[in-house]
Symmetry: C3
Subunit: 267 residues, 3 copies
């Protein structure tokens, strides 16, 4: 079966079963990520409260960890939920927001990789290069590097932590250390909607509930992001309307849309 | 006077006086609930800071409590504000988000019902059944039951805590334990916008500032939700645009819109 | 060079250099302010975590402080970042949300003015009058006074703390204590979108990265707000769609749009 047919099968299974995706995420994107997960076909829960996490993690099909607005309390929640998820075989995806820009973010990301063994890391080029230790500098949440520059770093991180690594950019690169796939599509206005990278991470979590393996889940998420972004850009007058049409596109997305808007290749 | 005329009188009084509705709510929906309250005709304030709450509560026409993203600090604020509101005769509405799914949420909801005597509880079927102790299980913030199954539980909770109970679903049920009203309308895409249930709770708070009693306020809020949802769905291409057209509809809503889109009956 | 040409020069420099604007802001508007900054041409970062702030502040072109949802942790972050910014000559803008409504907000605003010497204070009339000590009462985040009433207070605050003061309203007033400018434009629906005042503060931060002085930066931000608001209102069916078209307008804004939609005068 070709990639897009597999993707649609996974998506249809998601839309039917509406798996719970538990998000410990930043307050900037909590609303938009919940909307994206609902529009796609999952059931989101957002929390970081210690007293909540054990029970909610056990209901979850996948755990999404995003350190965009860290606090002591949030980081405690991250490692608590990550440990419960690992012990119970629930796959996790890590978004190492602004790793490389501040020490606390870099260290928290490494610690999560080591202790909680996420199935996928999804970041921008600066973040993935920082995790590979190639000294990429980052000034904040936006990448200062292109995804093409980060491919070797992505493979290194994938091998070092035995996970899939998904680098978003004009072309997305997804690798498990041996196989590497690219996703081409999307639109240049997408980085001007705050948190669309975080949304890619959340959707990766949703596909981890239904896909056969981590590399497939991560690639499916990026293919859906690019397709919905392209569909939205056809109607949008700017990044404001782009965001809303993007959710509409997630909701309406079909096999034809995938074939028309995105190219997925192994490289 | 018929229900819709009463509603429009209350809404016009709200639009003129713009009562302060104080929200201690989760960070997922803080923005969307503030937008909904502004579009409808109220003046929202969102906080959970202990040092803020006494002064702000005394300015408020109603208090909205939503435990969607709990923390120790937020729960402290909830009970502090709830106590000040009760002592000063300011009506409160409770949204027991994911009660039944985790212990801390169930217990916090019960404690608020007992100590702070809210005028209304607004929840989905799973949450209301959990509060009635009928052992409904819930896997997160989305209901696993239909509102029809929760009517008896709603009456039980209303009698036990002497409040109105509002259960949202395809048909909404609102009861004070003796009288029970239904609201039919809305659209199946509404649950795919995150926090529209929380918005129903916020609008219930707004109507508590102007309506003659709690049952009326809770019913007016659900009638407005369904009407605005139906109006928005006529134009929306998916849940993304639905949310924005929903706020536009709240802002533009007229007596004719109510009559055209919603049925309110006593059962 | 006339004001609008200077503004467009500053805006083009911003769109090219995409300066980092660091926001310690409330969770109600974090998402919408990040979207506004991205659409305009800046790179936003949102945090309030002590361990993050020193490193991120040093990357920043400007610091935006908004006390809309205070907490002990957030206020600690505010003064920490404010001190680092002052020591390193990074300009800051303060939004004293609901100063005058609660003691903690009034006191935190004064303390920031005294200790951290912001380049600009951006508030509504109630807030600025409260800071001038003229006993304006406020019931929450929405102003109970018109901007016209607050002009003398704005000049007093500007002289007292040697900063520019920007008062938003139907007409905006921006003063450095000696010169006073007005911005006319915008639309009456704008106050019905939550956090557009906070957005004005964030955009002031963005212009502080590129403008020649604080008075100019503050005036440029208000001129852009009014222009984008007017452009959005031409297409919007209510405050819901207004918000999205507003971001689209920020993204597309040209010199012609400024000339057509806004009047800037010295008074």
């Amino acid at each position: 079966m070709d990639f897009f047919s597999t993707l649609m099968g996974d998506l249809e299974r998601m839309r039917t079963s509406r798996p719970l995706v538990l998000n410990i995420t930043n307050y900037v994107v909590a609303n938009s990520n919940a909307n994206a997960l609902l529009a796609l076909g999952a059931s989101p829960a957002m929390t970081h409260f210690a007293d909540d996490l054990e029970e909610l993690t056990l209901f979850a099909g996948a755990l999404v960890i995003n350190i965009g607005t860290p606090s002591r309390e949030l980081l405690d929640g991250v490692f608590h939920a990550g440990t419960v998820a690992k012990q119970n075989g629930i796959p996790a995806v890590l978004d190492p927001v602004a790793a490389g820009a501040t020490t606390v973010r870099t260290e928290a990301s490494y610690r999560f990789l080591k202790e909680c063994s996420p199935a996928v890391v999804r970041g921008n080029a600066s973040e993935i290069m920082a995790l590979a230790g190639v000294g990429a500098t980052s000034k904040g949440a936006d990448s200062t590097r292109s995804a093409d520059e980060a491919v070797d770093s992505a493979r290194d991180v994938a091998r070092m932590f035995q996970c899939a690594v998904s680098v978003s950019g004009a072309t997305d690169y997804i690798t498990d250390g041996s196989r590497t796939l690219t996703v081409q599509g999307g639109h240049e206005m997408m980085p001007l909607v705050t948190g669309l990278g975080c949304t890619a991470t959340a959707l990766t979590g949703a596909f981890l509930c239904v896909a056969q393996d981590s590399l497939t889940a991560a690639t499916e998420a990026m293919a859906v992001m690019s397709t919905a972004g392209s569909m939205a850009a056809e109607k949008a007058g700017g990044p404001g309307t782009l965001q809303l049409y993007f959710y509409d596109a997630l909701y309406n997305l079909t096999l034809d849309d995938l074939r028309r808007h995105v190219i997925v290749e192994e490289v």
